[in-house]
């Protein structure tokens, strides 16, 4: 029913912004945690607002394992995880798809460098059935030759299609160079040569190295109690034994490289896709919070220095951002944007200027206050759905963070001083050591980027 409000306020003073009200306290939601006798870490993030249950299986190893094969096998872990849902000793790929779709549920799998994920989502009333399928997929994958060949062809074609994307090309070369000789140097999705050579034997060994109970964190999310979760988990996983394989030892973190330009030809490019940066820090690094607050100011949100400069002042780009991408054993810092070919050099100059500025001068008190407010205000918005809470809870376990990490997070952010920010910039930004990776018109760029050093040019079939 619509009713019309008749009052109006003619004499409102619009010239000044209204004052803030008192902020409300926000606690990081609690969650249940337990360990099974065979070593599975169990988390339950209960939320019964809606009759939905998600189960998220997270194994503490991923694509980094590809580096440790006898000869490096980029794409192996990712293909193994993709094949899980393509058939078990009890169900064919089609049967899995039919059963899951029929229940209006979904099931997915994949990996990053540090972890392998398998998850299911369904209405509560079908949870038990869906959980039986996801359990089967994890415990009894068949890795049939037919399915391996099918996934191989799909993967080769998708790798081919990805070369159309300038951002993908720039990122691939950047990652290869920044992590040279470290497990993160390899592309997670693989490359043509490796994907062609992966055998069923490779896949079985990879499965054995990743999928065992002690390596597993399971989060149950939504309309499910810890009792229900544990009893269902025990029903399907109590008999699962650890493989006894030794955990992979990581080599030492690579060092920061000297400045170098890498150009990748992208046919018909009307923009340069830029990714430039250097080695960063790992996720559980004690300086993670100051480094990330510093980066937010530099290029981590819309009103950051880099976006303001490149977009709002210069109109070079639709958007530009920087990030510290922090993985379990190492990490990288990079600035990313897309700009016209003929202003690529100007753009790099501005990026380097902004990095130098935040390194050499203290940020203003106002800037620091604003970014703290931004981070504090946006934090609760990341906890709206139980799955968002679960992502953070899983992160605590996966990256071995302190249990009180999220409950003390905002306090730590708000205690940072201008000096802390400058020190973080001083210590972790190296504008003289940038790896500059650009996909675009290499002929024009080779000339205009001369002042940044000689470029290594790659054709578009990397």
């Amino acid at each position: 029913m619509a009713i019309v409000k008749l009052r109006s306020t003619e004499n409102l003073d619009r010239t000044k912004p209204p004052k803030s009200g008192k902020p409300k306290d926000m606690k990081f939601p609690g969650f249940f945690e337990a360990k099974t006798s065979n070593g599975i870490t169990v988390l339950v993030i209960e939320d019964n607002r809606l009759p939905l249950v998600t189960s998220r299986f997270v194994f503490r190893s991923g694509a980094a394992e590809d580096f440790f094969c006898e000869s490096k096998k980029p794409g192996l872990s990712s293909i193994t995880s993709e094949l899980l849902t393509k058939g078990t000793i009890n169900r064919s790929a089609t049967e899995i798809a039919n059963e899951i779709d029929y229940l209006g549920a979904s099931i997915g799998s994949g990996c990053n460098y540090d972890a392998t994920f398998v998850s299911s989502y369904s209405l509560k009333k079908y949870f038990s059935r869906v959980f039986d399928i996801i359990s089967d997929v994890i415990l009894n994958p068949s890795f049939s030759d037919e399915e391996i060949e099918r996934v191989r062809i799909q993967r080769l074609n998708s790798l081919l299609a990805m070369t159309d994307d300038g951002d993908y090309l720039a990122e691939k070369v950047f990652i290869r160079e920044v992590y040279k000789d470290f497990p993160y140097e390899l592309p997670i999705d693989g490359d043509e040569e490796s994907v062609k050579s992966i055998s069923r034997k490779d896949i079985l060994l990879n499965y054995k190295k990743i999928f065992y109970p002690e390596n597993l964190i399971v989060a149950f999310v939504g309309d499910i109690t810890p009792d229900e979760a544990i009893s269902k988990l025990n029903e399907n996983f109590a008999g699962w034994e650890n493989s006894g394989l030794e955990k992979t030892e990581f080599p030492e973190t690579p060092s920061i490289k000297s400045q170098k330009v890498f150009l990748i030809e992208k046919k018909g490019a009307v923009q340069s896709s830029i990714k430039t940066g250097h080695l960063g820090i790992h996720r559980s690094h004690p300086d993670y919070i100051p480094v990330n607050v510093m980066n937010t100011l530099l290029g981590g949100f819309f009103t950051s220095r880099i976006n303001k400069n490149l977009r709002e002042v210069n109109g070079f780009t639709y958007g530009a951002r920087s990030q510290f991408h922090c993985c379990k054993h190492s990490g990288d810092f990079s600035v990313m944007t897309e700009v016209k070919t003929d202003i690529t050099a100007d753009t790099l100059d501005e990026i380097i200027k902004e990095i130098n500025d935040i390194k050499n001068k203290n940020v203003s008190a106002e800037e620091l206050r604003d970014v703290k407010n931004y981070i504090s205000g946006n934090f609760p918005m990341q906890l709206e759905t139980p799955n968002e809470v679960a992502t953070k809870a899983i992160g605590l376990k996966l990256y071995e963070l302190d249990d009180d990490y999220y409950s003390t997070y905002l306090n730590k952010v708000n205690q940072l001083t201008k000096e802390d920010i400058r020190q973080a910039a001083e210590k972790y930004l190296h504008p003289g050591n940038l790896l500059i990776s650009i996909a675009g018109d290499t002929k024009a760029l080779s000339k205009s980027l001369k002042k940044f050093g000689d470029a290594e040019v790659t054709g578009d079939n990397i």
Binding site: K24, N90, A93, D101, D164, V339
Partner: protein, 437 residues
């Protein structure tokens, strides 16, 4: 674990009451200047979402001015009478918030997510830019450059980036939906400050807008704030909106484009009736039975069994005045696009001849139940759907009614829609081929 096939196709029954156990309740009222207000209270987190929907989109643009609805959306962030350039974003963000906007064919949506203690700052900002823009030549030129780079990034430099634009061009020829939202560079560059001011006066008035506030509010205070900030805005729109006439396709057409891509793509496209028609619901079943999941007909046959495709999708795109249905395939190297078009036509004909199975029909209902149950965990989805349901249907309670509209579809309804709009309809085939082929 044993496979138990018996339970499989007989034990599942839709439980409509379960989905509707908690209908979403709104409070609605209209200010005397015509601004329609919708409130939804949910105090789970100390956060509110404010969504403003203005009833203006790319379909309202005049010839020679294609792309200005979207460019104007950018200008809304460039300062108003009491807010300087860049300050809109910075006020929002330093208040712990986040904001953005998007332009569609039929409307333009602005949203702010902000801690509930700072709701008043967001309302001050939104009301100031509804009341009065403060534009200058320099800001306009800057945002023209940004939008042109946006076009390059999204369309020109992106693989298949122009595909949907070309589908619209032929399906909606002669209507307001023909031109792309992003527009063209010449028209964007021709936009002047005085035209921007006129655009604001014409379309950005309270009676052409709906505001939805969802989240951590109480009704009384929020009403007072809406009255405080918006009721003094006196602007009225005088526009004579031109009618968006959709022409039926007279002939089937094939168009081929050469792009910087590796894998060919084929799209088989049909015109549908507008949003809210029976087809909004019946065609949903057709999209899901044919594609979009691993148990669908085209996926099983063309991706899985015959290995002809990298992916296959069926898309239903509903607009205020019309609709679009298309099948889209990304082809494996060496596969002929004509062959895929034939496969598509055969699959549609077979569907028309034999209908769908009970299993398929139940599967889609289960999926819809699951989809509707999860959508309203996030207040921003509630705000967005409420705003659009008001703008296009003047019925916010569609949020609660939609699931029944879907679940009451019968197999017969599906067959009727399929025959009327697809089997007997003309089609447009848009094919993309690698430049070097």
């Amino acid at each position: 674990m044993k496979k138990n096939k018996d339970y499989f196709y007989n034990a599942v029954k839709i439980d409509v009451e379960n989905v509707l156990k908690h209908p979403i309740e709104f409070k609605e009222f209209t200010l005397s200047n015509g601004l329609h207000c919708i409130l939804y209270k949910n105090n789970q987190l100390p956060v509110v979402n404010i969504t403003l929907g203005y009833k203006v989109g790319s379909k309202d643009e005049l010839p020679g001015k294609k792309g200005i609805a979207h460019l104007f959306e950018h200008l809304m962030f460039q300062g108003s009478k009491n807010v300087k350039k860049n300050e809109h974003f910075s006020y929002l963000m330093k208040s712990g918030g986040f904001c953005n906007a998007f332009t569609m064919q039929d409307s333009t949506i602005y949203f702010d997510n902000i801690p509930s203690n700072n709701i008043e700052i967001a309302l001050w900002l939104e009301s100031d830019r509804m009341n009065s823009l403060n534009l200058d030549e320099k800001n306009l030129e800057n945002q023209k450059k940004v939008v042109i780079e946006e076009k390059k990034q999204r369309v020109d430099n992106s693989p298949y980036g122009s595909m949907l634009l070309n589908i619209f061009k032929y399906i909606f020829k002669g209507s307001g939906y023909e031109s792309p939202i992003i527009g063209n560079v010449k028209d964007i560059n021709s936009f002047t400050v005085s035209e921007a001011v006129k655009f604001h006066n014409d379309y950005y008035s309270p009676c052409n807008c709906v505001i939805v506030i969802s989240g951590d509010i109480n009704f009384e205070n929020t009403e007072e704030l809406l009255i405080k900030y918006f009721s003094g805005i006196r602007k009225k729109n005088q526009l004579n909106r031109k009618k968006n006439i959709i022409k039926k396709l007279r002939n089937s057409i094939d168009r081929t484009y050469y792009d910087n891509i590796q894998l060919p793509a084929v799209n088989l496209c049909y015109q549908l009736p507008k949003a809210g028609s029976k087809e909004e619901y019946t065609i949903e079943f057709i999209t899901e039975i044919l594609a979009n999941n691993k148990s669908s007909r085209l996926y099983k046959n063309l991706v899985y069994k015959k290995k002809l495709l990298q992916s296959v999708n069926a898309v239903k795109y509903m607009l205020e005045d019309s609709g679009l249905f298309f099948l889209n395939a990304l082809l494996n190297p060496g596969v002929s696009p004509e062959n895929i078009k034939d496969e598509f036509l055969n699959a549609l004909q077979e569907f028309a001849d034999k209908g769908c199975t009970d299993e398929e029909f139940e599967r889609i209902k289960n999926k819809l139940e699951s989809k509707f149950t999860s959508r309203y965990l996030q207040i921003k989805n509630i705000s967005l759907d409420a705003a659009q349901n008001y703008l296009y249907f003047r019925n916010v309670n569609r949020i609660n009614e939609e699931i029944n509209n879907y679940l009451s579809v019968t197999k017969n309804d599906i067959a009727e829609s399929l025959n009327k709009y697809i089997i007997s309809g003309k089609n447009i085939t848009v094919t993309y081929l690698p430049k070097n082929s």
